[in-house]
Amino acid sequence: MKRNPQLNAHGELQHLITLEGLSREILSAILDTAEPFAEVAEREVKKVPLLRGKSVFNLFFENSTRTRTTFEIAAKRLSADVINLNINTSSAAKGESLLDTVDNLAAMQADMFVVRHASSGAPYLIAQHLAATGRSHIRVVNAGDGRHAHPTQGLLDMYTIRHYKKDFTRLTVAVVGDVLHSRVARSQIHALRTLGVPEIRVIAPRTLLPAGVADMGVRVFQDMKEGLKGVDVVMMLRLQNERMQGALLPSPQEYFKYYGLTPEKLRLAKPDAIVMHPGPMNRGIEIDSAVADGAHSVILPQVTFGIAVRMAVMSMLAGS
C-alpha cells in the first residue's frame, strides 16, 4: 500500500485528512500544542502571529455554519487571512469540477484549504492533486468528508477527554447513535484506539451500524442500558433529520425512548462520567435537555477546546 498521503517522507504531518494511521506521538503532539492555545482565548488580545501573511481558504462544499466558524476563528486568532467559500451555491452549481475549483483557488496563492465535502475521500483527492501538480506546500485540512472522517472533531473530543480524565488507558468509552452515517464516530474510534482506550463500545440499532463495524475494534451493543454500564465517557452522535422517519428508524419518539440519553440511563454509567456531543444537538431526540445542560455535560467546553485544537492543527501544518 502507498504511503499515507497525509504524511511526508519523514513521517511528518503535511495534511490532516484522517486520524486513522496517525501515531500516538502525532496525536499527543497535536493535543499538547493545543494546550497553550486554550490560554490564548483567555487573554484580552486573543491573537498570536503564527500564520501572519498566510491565506486560509475555507472550502465548504456542504453547509456548516458552526464548523466553518470555528475554523475561521482559529485561523484569525493565528493572524491568518481567511476567505470563506460556500461552493455548493457557486461553482458546483455551474458545473465546475472539484479539481477545477481547487486549481483556481490555488492560483490565488492559497496556503491552506479547509475542506468540507459530502463525498468521502474528497480531501484525499485534493491533496493528491496538489501533490501531483507540484503544489504540496498548500496544506489540506479535512473539515468533514462524507461518512469518512472529521479529524479535528475527533481531536477536540480527545482533548476534552484528556482534560477531564487524564489517562486514556483505563477508560471505557461509549459512542452512541448513528455510527453508519457518522464521520465523527469513525474519527473518534480511530483516535480512541490509538490513544490506548481499552474498551470502546458503540451503541445503536442495527440499521445505524455499518456492516464491518466490529472489525474497527469496538464492542457492539444494541441495548443502550447494557452498553452504558460502567462507562467513563458517553459520546453522543447527532441524528440527521432525514433519518428519523423512514426505513432506518420508525420515529424520533421511539428513538428517544430506546437510544436517547436520559438522566435515568446516564445513571448506569460511572458516577463521574462525562457526556459529550459534537453538536448541533437534537434535544428530546438523541439527548434529554436535563443531560445536555446537566452536571455531567462537557458539551460547551468541547466547543471552546475545538478552537484551540484547530489552532494547533493549523499552526503545525502551516506555521512559520
Binding site: 486513522e20 463525498s119 468521502s120 475521500g121 468528508d145 461518512r147 469518512h148 455499518p210 464491518g212 472489525d215
Partner: protein, 439 residues
C-alpha cells in the same frame, strides 16, 4: 492471400490442440494446422499451398483470436469517450477478434436502425467482429419490450440490460418468455437495485472504515434467485454477466445441477482485485458490480478455473479522465480492458498454476459458445481469427501505449504487477489487423 504461421506453439482449446505446429491460412480461412511431431519439424503445408506471407512465431503461442463478452465501444452517443476506430485498434492490439457490446449506448441499442448502423460502421477488415447485445426493453427502462426479432435480424446476438435492472418482475418474466419464443438468450446482471441503492463499494470492513456506502452480497444473491427462478419458469437461455461473489457462484452451480440452462461470466479485474485495493479512495478501483472481499475474489478465481464460471471478459469501459478524477462516490465505475484481457488472463493462469489451454479456453472457445458463434477455434474451415503472442514478454500498461481512448485502469504504469504476454500479431479473417512484432 495465403499465410503460413510457422514455428509457433499452437493452443486451440476447442480442438484439443496444444503442441508445436504451423497454421496455414487461405482466403481468410484456416486451411491446416499441422506439425508437432516428436522430431520438432515444421508442419507440412496442404497440397498446393504456396504462402504469400510468412509469420515467424518462434517462441510464441498461436491461439484463436480472443472472444470478449463485454466491450463498450461507446458508439453511438459517447464518442468523446471512445470511438469505434480507437477501440477497434485496442481490441486488435489485445488479440481480441470478436466482441459483444452491451446496449448501454446513447440512445441504447433498442431499435434495428441503430444496430444496423453500428454493425455497418464496424464492418472493416481490420476491425474485430462486433456482436451487439440488443436492449431487452425500450430505452433500457424495464417497461416495454423491444422488437427482439427485428433486432436479431439487424445483428443482435442476445438481449440484455447492461447494468440497468428491470424493476418490474412481471416485465422481466414476459421479456424472458418472449425471448424464449424465438430462442434468444437473455444476458442480465444480478444486482438488486434497492439493496445496491447509492452503494459504491462492497459492504464490509473496507467500506465501513472509509465511510463509503456499501452494496451487500445479498444484492447479488437475491437478484440471482429471482433470475434463476424466472429462467426455470420460462425456459429462456440465461447468461449472467459479471458475477462478483462466492455465494453467487454457489447458487449458479446449484441451479445448473437442477437443470436450468444458465451460463455466467466474470470480469477480468475481479480476478485480481478486491475491496482492499480501494486503498485511499482510488477511483480506478470503482467497479459495477463492486470489487468484493478477498474471499470472494479467490472464489471467482477458483470458479473460473473449475468451469463453474464459463467465461472471462474484459468488461471494457473507457471513461474519460474528468469522470475519474472525482471523489470515489462521484467517479464513474469501470476500467479500460481490451488491452488487459490477455495479460490479466495469463497472470491468473500463472498464479493458479493452470494449463494454458484451460485458461485460454475461457477467453476463446467458451465465450464463443455462449455467443453462439463459430469463433474461438482454429478448426479447418473456420475464419482465420488468430492471435500470436509472446507469453514471457513483459507487458507495460501506460497512457502512451494504450490504444484505447480510455486510459482508466488500476494497472496503469505499475511494473510491480508483473504483467506478461505481449501480442505479436492479430489476424482477423486472415487480415493483419495488428502487427506488434517490433513494438
Amino acid at each position: 492471400m495465403k499465410i503460413h504461421i510457422k514455428n509457433g506453439h499452437v493452443i486451440d482449446p476447442a480442438n484439443g490442440i496444444d503442441r508445436a505446429a504451423d497454421v496455414f491460412i487461405a482466403k481468410g480461412k484456416i486451411v491446416g494446422v499441422t506439425g508437432g511431431n516428436p522430431r520438432g519439424d515444421g508442419g507440412t503445408a496442404p497440397a498446393g499451398f504456396e504462402a504469400n506471407a510468412t509469420i515467424d512465431a518462434t517462441g510464441c503461442i498461436v491461439c484463436p483470436g480472443l472472444v470478449d463478452l463485454s466491450a463498450r465501444l461507446r458508439e453511438p452517443g459517447f464518442e468523446y469517450r471512445a470511438t469505434l476506430e480507437s477501440e477497434m485498434a485496442a481490441a486488435a492490439a489485445g488479440g481480441i477478434t470478436s466482441l459483444a457490446c452491451p446496449p448501454d449506448t446513447d440512445p441504447p441499442l433498442d431499435e434495428p436502425g441503430l444496430v444496423e448502423m453500428l454493425t455497418h460502421r464496424a464492418r472493416r477488415p481490420e476491425f474485430s467482429h462486433v456482436y451487439p447485445v440488443g436492449a431487452l426493453t425500450l430505452k433500457l427502462e424495464g417497461k416495454r419490450l423491444t422488437e427482439m426479432a427485428e433486432l436479431a435480424e439487424a445483428g443482435c446476438v442476445a438481449f440484455g440490460q447492461a447494468n440497468t435492472p428491470v424493476l418490474d418482475t412481471q416485465v422481466l418474466m414476459r421479456a424472458m418468455q418472449y425471448a424464449a419464443t424465438f430462442g434468444f438468450s437473455v444476458w442480465l446482471q444480478a444486482q438488486d437495485p434497492y439493496l445496491a441503492k447509492n452503494g459504491v463499494a462492497h459492504d464490509g470492513e473496507i467500506s465501513a472504515r472509509l465511510g463509503l456506502a456499501g452494496i451487500p452480497v445479498v444484492a447479488e444473491t437475491i437478484a440471482l434467485a429471482t433470475l434463476l427462478h424466472l429462467a426455470r419458469e420460462t425456459g429462456v437461455r440465461l447468461h449472467l454477466t459479471r458475477i462478483s461473489s462466492a455465494d453467487g457462484i454457489e447458487m449458479i452451480a446449484a441451479a445448473r445441477a437442477s437443470g436450468i440452462a444458465v451460463t455466467c461470466d466474470v470480469a477480468v479485474h475481479h480476478l485480481h482485485l478486491c475491496d482492499q485495493d480501494i486503498g485511499f479512495f482510488n477511483p480506478h478501483a470503482r467497479f459495477d458490480p463492486p470489487l468484493r472481499s478477498l474471499r470472494d475474489r479467490d472464489a471467482l478465481r477458483a470458479g473460473l478455473a473449475s468451469g463453474a464460471i464459463d467465461a472471462l471478459c474484459s468488461d471494457h469501459t473507457p471513461v474519460d479522465d474528468d469522470a475519474k478524477q472525482a471523489p470515489f462516490d462521484e467517479a464513474e465505475p469501470g476500467a479500460t480492458g481490451l488491452e488487459l484481457l490477455l495479460p490479466l488472463t495469463l497472470k491468473w493462469a500463472a498464479e493458479m498454476k493452470l494449463p494454458l489451454a484451460t485458461a485460454l479456453a475461457r477467453v476463446t472457445a467458451d465465450p464463443a459458445r455462449i455467443l453462439g458463434i463459430g469463433a474461438g477455434t482454429l478448426a479447418v474451415g473456420s475464419a482465420a481469427d488468430v492471435c500470436v503472442f509472446d507469453l514471457r514478454a513483459p507487458c507495460r500498461i501506460g497512457r502512451e501505449t494504450l490504444k484505447s481512448q480510455g486510459k482508466n485502469t488500476p494497472f496503469l504504469g505499475q511494473d510491480h504487477h508483473d504483467l506478461r504476454g505481449r501480442v505479436r500479431c492479430t489476424l482477423i479473417e486472415g487480415h493483419l489487423a495488428y502487427d506488434g512484432a517490433f513494438v
